[in-house]
Amino acid sequence: MVFRFLGISLFAVLATAGIPVQAAKVADSLVRIQATSQEPNYRAPWSGGEVVSGVGAGFVVSGNRIMTNAHVVSNGRFLTVSKEGDPKPYPARVLHVAHDCDLALLTVEDPDFFKNTTALEFGDIPAIESTVSVYGYPIGGDRLSVTRGVVSRIDFQPYSHSGVDSHLTIQIDAAINPGNSGGPVLQDGKVVGVAFQGYSGDVAQNVGYMIPTPVVQRFLKDVEDGQYDRYVDLTISYHPLHNPAMRKALGVTEEDKGVFVGSVYGGGVSDGILKPGDVLLAIDGLPIASDGTVVMNGEDPVEMAEVVERKYRNDKVNFDILREGKPMNVTLSLTHPWPFSLQANAYDEKPRFVVFGGLVFQPVDANFMAEHNPEDLRLRYNFDQFITQGIYREREEIITLSAVLADPINAYAAEFRYDIVDKINDRKIRKLSDVSAAFKEPADYYVIEMVGDGRPIVLERKAVEDARNRIIARYGVNKEENLEK
């Protein structure tokens, strides 16, 4: 759903003459970003991937910084920015990037760049039905484009850049197209959002999304200490309490209040504090309605999660709960994000792998699945249900035999492709480093057992040693393992 911004190599040279007042002012702070990035290669993980270039938008904010979307600068190798009325491209670098809310801050070393620019100010959440203007460099031309739209909906929505995070989002009916990404959305001269995603193809028309200012402001505040700490989620599932029998059985007396906890995910901040079956009645003193919404600062009702959304690492959250009918008060600290994030799209990371005897082992994550798209039903199940079926409790990573670099020593291993590694020489494989460690142990035979009912793969140590240089040379494997992200 996220627009792939278009690779246009021409630079826009834009005169400000003839542009209306608001646009003229915005033009002083609008930035065109030319990004060259290298996509990681999950099929030949030891090699660097394809180099692509694209164009996105950004805008100057306080402190000589440029705000844009994380997806504009992800996997970036070289960035240049240019501003309206200045033909010169300036090299830029990323200060902070937040993949979980698709925002990034850049800066330019050349102090000349920020001369004559105006840092834009931020406004509040615009009212439904009010009009906003979207600025950027969308496809269809090289110069600044402005479109207007109406605020259609304010809601919690998934952010497709990471694929797993949901935050407050504003839907507008202005056309947002590839190249609009990272551009400011203005109302009354103030930024009320950052354009970031839309629908591609014929799915829907005139549906564009922007990141609203509570999310943007939170990002700016988070990085004030010099680093981005990410969102910390409660990592529970909770469900509406609409059924009268359910309410009665759980001892909920107050009308239309409370939600119940379905799952508490292991390793998260609620683990050991909240329990499945707990009824959540209030969060930080705000009553929780039976559909899971709360009213914050007299605003329209928002999803309960929004209270946690506006908090930072190590902040506390307080709940009034009912546990087995007894009222209790619990407090949890947002100390760390959930550790098992393999379902999120990852950026700015190198693929991790181990090559042994021509067998390539890789952890299964969203990037891997996107590139390999394996049909294997067991592998897909383990990936898709990793959280819901608690597979993370057995292993923190799913390691698969992703490829066989054909050689006489592995001539019979092809049938095991996309199987999940269960054990190597009786050592349970819970993460990639276990694979590396198991192969470093001296042994006559390396016995690789896969999940399921097949036979093990057996490699003789001597055969592996004899084949090593041959395989490295033949397949150009310049690195036999990478365990670090």
Partner: protein, 497 residues
């Protein structure tokens, strides 16, 4: 006792057919040794149950095929033709005279069924066919179809391969003749016989129009089926219950200490199967079966068919109840184990691999529909069901089905029929049930029994999946029964048969 003279007449006819055969052999294949009196059209009206609405059947449809008349007025067809039958009718090819038929035996594993006309006079003049089990690779055969005017259309075919492959129900791998034949599409495609010299070689099981190849259920499999069908209780094709992997990889052979040339590695022995009862273990190497050496791929040298899978010995050459000797290599020593073959007990599997002719089991409590997992339920998603159907259920069906101890079923909430007492639950579906009112659920019967004991006026239903549990008002659920049946036209709120 009217049937007696006809049996006698048939007995007289048989030797005639035998005498005719040697003559026919001398003639080229174009001389048709089978006439339409050995064939009968079979029209089966079938009606499948709707697994999404297990209290109803789907619309009826008709399948047509060309049955083969065997001795004793029995008619052989494929099981697929009569699956979920409501009415089976025979129709003579030449006169279009009709008679209702009853199904004597049906076995979906081998895809064969045996019918008999209700009217005992109906096939009095038919000329029964015998089996020819002697076909070899390269032999010619004739595929028989009926024109709409009752004339026989014949297509020459050549047997290109004889191998052991999976049959449509995916439960057994049995002997198959693969033939090459340019068949035309005609009505009655659900049973098409292949003959040679006046004898039956096999029935078509599937046909690929593009490559013009077809698979036949061959005479040896039919012979096994017919022999078993004579028994008082049809036992079904036996299975050893042993999964194995080949041992071509020399590193693997050295690792397991296999110095002999052949042998396959046992990777799994299904609980409760003949292999498990006989004590075959994971890691054993099967060296020979029934006196035949097993090679690295699991094949043996058959006198008749060349190299084919040894499973032919355990599921077709042998019958249920027979003992077959397995020679195993275990811990470096040769062990001989007698294995008493038995058919698979499908009642014992977690997810029934197929279900015909029986209404799906279900139980409705307060609008919540509970069912037992079966492959047939998942197949309601169509051909792409492994990807389309709920992933958790597909996983249980495909990877857990034969792992569990015999008897456990997966009971799941398939859907919620919205009614006042299930407000708030109406989006729930495909949740595996763990407990009801504190009682662990291993079958639908468990659930029905547990639902008799609500606690403090509530049914507590616990799931293996999120949201974990729900409560139902027991009294409201009970009171709403009639209304629910009326609203959704449900004749009964349960079927446990």
């Amino acid at each position: 006792m009217k049937a007696r003279p006809i049996f006698a007449a048939l007995a007289l006819l048989c030797p005639l057919a035998l005498q005719a055969a040697p003559d026919a052999k001398e003639k080229p294949d174009s001389v048709l040794p089978v006439d339409s009196s050995s064939l009968v059209r079979v029209n089966s009206t079938n009606q499948a149950f709707d697994f999404f609405r297990p209290w109803t059947k789907k619309a009826p449809y008709m399948r047509r095929g060309l049955g083969v008349v065997l001795a004793d007025q029995q008619i052989l067809v494929t099981a697929e033709l009569v699956a979920n039958r409501t009415y089976v009718e025979l129709e003579k090819a030449d006169s279009a005279e009709k008679s209702q038929a009853e199904v004597l035996v049906v076995d979906y594993d081998c895809n064969l069924a045996l019918l008999k006309p209700v009217n005992p006079e109906f096939l009095a003049k038919a000329r029964p066919l015998k089996l020819d089990t002697g076909a070899r690779v390269g032999d010619s055969a004739m595929i028989l179809q009926l024109e709409s005017n009752g004339l026989i259309a014949q297509t020459p075919a050549t047997i290109t391969t004889i191998t052991v492959t999976g049959y449509p129900m995916d439960q057994l791998a049995l002997l198959t003749y693969r033939i090459s034949a340019p068949l035309q599409n005609r009505e009655g495609s659900f049973t098409i016989p292949a003959v040679r010299n006046g004898r039956l070689l096999g029935l078509l099981m599937r046909y690929d129009g593009r490559s013009q190849t077809a698979d036949l259920i061959p005479a040896p499999v039919i012979a096994h089926f017919l022999a078993d069908a004579k028994l008082e209780k049809y036992p079904g094709f036996p299975r050893a219950g042993i999964a194995f992997a080949g041992t071509r990889d020399p590193q693997f052979r050295r690792y397991i200490g296999l110095t002999e040339p052949g042998g396959v590695y046992v990777t799994e022995v299904k609980p409760g199967s003949p292999g498990a009862i006989a004590g075959v273990r994971k890691g054993d190497v099967i060296l020979s079966v029934a006196g035949k050496a097993v090679d690295q791929d699991g094949n043996y040298a058959s006198d008749d068919f060349g190299r084919i899978s040894f499973s032919h010995l355990t599921n077709t050459v042998a019958h249920s109840g027979d003992t077959v000797e397995f020679v195993l290599l275990r811990d470096g020593k040769r062990v001989t184990i007698p294995l008493v073959l038995a058919p698979i007990d499908r009642r014992g599997v977690l997810s029934d691999p197929y279900q015909f002719d029986r209404q799906p089991r279900y139980f409705i409590l307060g609008g919540l529909v509970f069912q037992e997992l079966s492959r047939a339920y998942l197949q309601e998603w169509g051909g792409g069901w492994p990807k389309e159907a709920p992933q958790r259920l597909v996983y249980l069906d495909m990877f857990q089905s034969d792992k569990e101890k015999a008897g456990r079923k997966v009971v799941f909430l398939s859907q919620v029929l919205p009614s006042p007492n299930n407000l708030g639950y109406q989006n729930l579906d495909h949740l595996v049930v763990k407990k009801v009112n504190g009682v662990e659920i291993k079958s639908l019967e468990d659930l029905v029994k547990a639902a008799e004991g609500p606690v403090d006026g509530f049914h507590k239903i616990e799931f293996e999946d999120d949201p974990g549990f729900i409560f139902l008002d027991a009294e409201a659920a009970e009171k709403g029964k009639t209304q629910l049946q009326q609203d959704y036209s449900i004749p009964s709120l349960e079927n446990l048969n």
